[in-house]
């Protein structure tokens, strides 16, 4: 049975936009390691993952409108990204920790999107789920190897994870439009339920986490940009602004 194209409600758009914006900014952040990752093979792997994330963002944006408009021609206020993907992570340990925390979460998010609502969404989900398997494998292999060691690698990674946990956990704050998206079958699982799946996976590696004591980023954090957004968005649109009408 073909679902055809869905006319998204405002709430459903908000829900998809939050995911698309996370993917967009996460992909952009990863690309900034091209040429400077610690070794060549990792450089290639990380760049490939960045490309995948940007591809997911583009595909989700296309469901909602023109990808370029949504990616480059929106005001900061229009973004719905979470704080985790806006943070600068200039240290490799931080970038790796974020990649791991984010992709653990991302996998659950793809698995929670409903099937049979929109043909194109079904296609995006199928593709993304396949790609996410590698992202998860890549993060788990590196984290498992480095976290399990004594000394510098463990300490740096542990410090990075601990500093990022409040932001990573806040990724699961209920997204605007979630309730309606859930009722419409676009979201099959609530953010709270996904958080409950994600937390034990994090703890399986880093040990018990005092979740209730983590710094609170406040309600509706996705409607406010962090102080880091402006410079990130400046880099994102750097080439685009040279000639907004250029055809690629």
């Amino acid at each position: 049975m073909s679902a055809g194209r869905r006319d998204w409600s405002a709430a459903e758009r908000e829900y998809l936009l939050a995911f698309a914006d996370d993917e967009h900014l996460m992909g952009q952040q990863h690309t900034e390691w091209i040429g400077t990752a610690p070794f060549l093979e990792e450089d290639l792997a990380f760049a490939s993952i960045a490309q995948d994330e940007l591809g997911h963002a583009a595909a989700l944006y296309e469901l909602l409108g023109d990808a370029d408009d949504l990616a480059f021609r929106r005001d900061a206020d229009g973004y719905r990204s979470c704080a985790l993907v806006e943070l600068p992570c200039p240290d490799w340990a931080e970038a790796l920790a974020r990649h791991w925390l984010y992709d653990l979460a991302e996998r659950h998010r793809w698995q929670s999107l409903g099937a049979g609502i929109d043909d194109r969404l079904d296609g995006v989900v199928a593709r993304a789920r396949r790609e996410e398997e590698y992202h998860r494998l890549h993060a788990a292999a590196l984290i498992g190897r480095l976290y399990g060691q004594d000394g510098d690698a463990h300490e740096r990674l542990d410090a990075a994870v601990r500093s990022l946990l409040p932001f990573a956990d806040a990724l699961w704050e209920p997204v605007a439009g979630e309730h309606e998206a859930h009722r419409a079958g676009l979201a099959t699982v609530t953010s709270a339920q996904l958080r409950a799946r994600w937390r034990p996976e994090v703890e399986a590696v880093v040990g018990p986490v005092p979740w209730d004591e983590l710094a609170n980023l406040g309600q509706d954090a996705r409607r406010q940009r962090t102080e880091h957004f402006a410079s990130l968005f400046d880099r994102i649109t750097e080439v685009f602004r040279i000639d907004p009408n250029a055809i690629w």
């Binding site: 093979e41 290639l44 792997a45 490939s48 890549h138 190897r145």
Partner: protein, 94 residues
């Protein structure tokens, strides 16, 4: 760090072919990293990694003497030359 020799196989009847090597801390990491280093454009649909320490390799000079045995390079040239000579001989006699 260990070195792993990389073999790729394409779809179909082709055999696994050596494509290069990759350095990694363990086999799992090698398998993770080889995918985007050697198979970004699906250069194969299967990959083997072989720990270089498990490769049985020849020592220096071991093969060299065999490079000097033209009688093992049978391209039929000498036989062809003899037969031609024979033909020319009988032609001249007629």
């Amino acid at each position: 760090m260990n070195v792993y020799e990389v073999f790729l196989k394409k779809d179909g009847k082709d055999e696994f072919r050596h494509a290069g090597s990759i350095e990694a801390a363990d086999p799992d990491l090698a398998m993770v990293l080889v995918r985007e280093t050697y198979l970004r454009r699906a250069e194969g649909d299967q990959v083997w990694l072989v720990d270089r320490r498990h490769v049985v390799a020849s020592g220096p000079g071991y093969i060299d003497p065999n490079a000097d045995k033209p009688h093992r390079f049978n391209d039929g040239g000498r036989v062809a030359a003899r037969r031609k000579a024979k033909r020319d001989e009988s032609g001249a006699a007629r």
